[in-house]
Symmetry: C2
Subunit: 154 residues, 2 copies
């Protein structure tokens, strides 16, 4: 029998805390499958078209972001009481994502703000980075999420 997971609330998150979210890599097939459905630009579908611009087939930036989201859910959001996201700022695509290249997610907790209109929740800025094997950022962004406060006792 599994013990119940300890959930984190707004009060439990501290600005500056860092979460290492694990490492993943995309296969060439996964890159092409995503691109066919959501981003069919030649350099996401066809090695030959991609070489003169990027040196090889690269993943859609939205796939790199979505892959980060998966790491974020598995390594952080799955443990907090998240009520959604109003938006994301400052996405930077700094380096291309190639097939087979290991990418690691890193999250740093940023600014916290208790909601004025709804005191049972607050917003938290998530400073997100996808890093390559050398620790260089491939993609960075600042997400905003709404996190529930610890439920008040009866």
């Amino acid at each position: 029998m599994q013990s119940e997971k300890e959930l984190l609330y707004f009060e439990d998150l501290n600005a500056g805390s860092v979460f290492d979210l694990g490492t993943v890599a995309l296969t060439r097939d996964e890159i092409v499958t995503f691109a066919r459905q959501y981003d069919p630009q030649p350099f996401h579908l066809d090695e030959v078209a991609a070489i003169p611009i990027f040196g090889g087939l690269i993943a859609s930036g939205w796939q790199t972001v979505s892959l980060f989201q998966r790491l974020l859910v598995d390594g952080f959001l799955g443990d907090v009481v998240c009520l959604g996201s109003p938006g994301v700022n400052d996405i930077h695509f700094l380096r291309p994502t190639f097939a087979g290249k290991p990418l690691s997610g890193r999250l740093t907790i940023g600014e916290k703000r208790l909601s004025k209109s709804r005191p049972d929740r607050g917003s938290v800025t998530l400073k997100c980075a996808m890093l390559d094997e050398e620790g260089e950022a491939v993609m960075t962004m600042k997400g905003l999420v709404i996190i529930a406060c610890t439920p008040k006792g009866p």
Copy 2:
């Protein structure tokens, strides 16, 4: 035999021009498939978990963005000589995306800036909006893309 497509270059794009990118809708299966792979939060996977927060199952915000990207490629980027994107700003998730809800993409060309270091290209701001049937914005963002200039003659 298909005639060759007329490609658009940096000089051909005018700030303020509006492109209607067409309409799509996600099925419940597509929402759950994307969520299982990239964003397995309960309100993207499970109707019952989603109802108290959003009134029903909602798509990952990244799926709404990716769906916009597909409309953008089919209705705009496929006709311009795009050399990639350095990033995206100000993504706002304004309304949830429910299954079966028709969403229409609209693009407005924003600021243009010729590259100082590489005079064969420039950056263009793409003001992007996904609209619902009432014309209300579901998601907005400002993308930056690098567009090639018209090739110089011999």
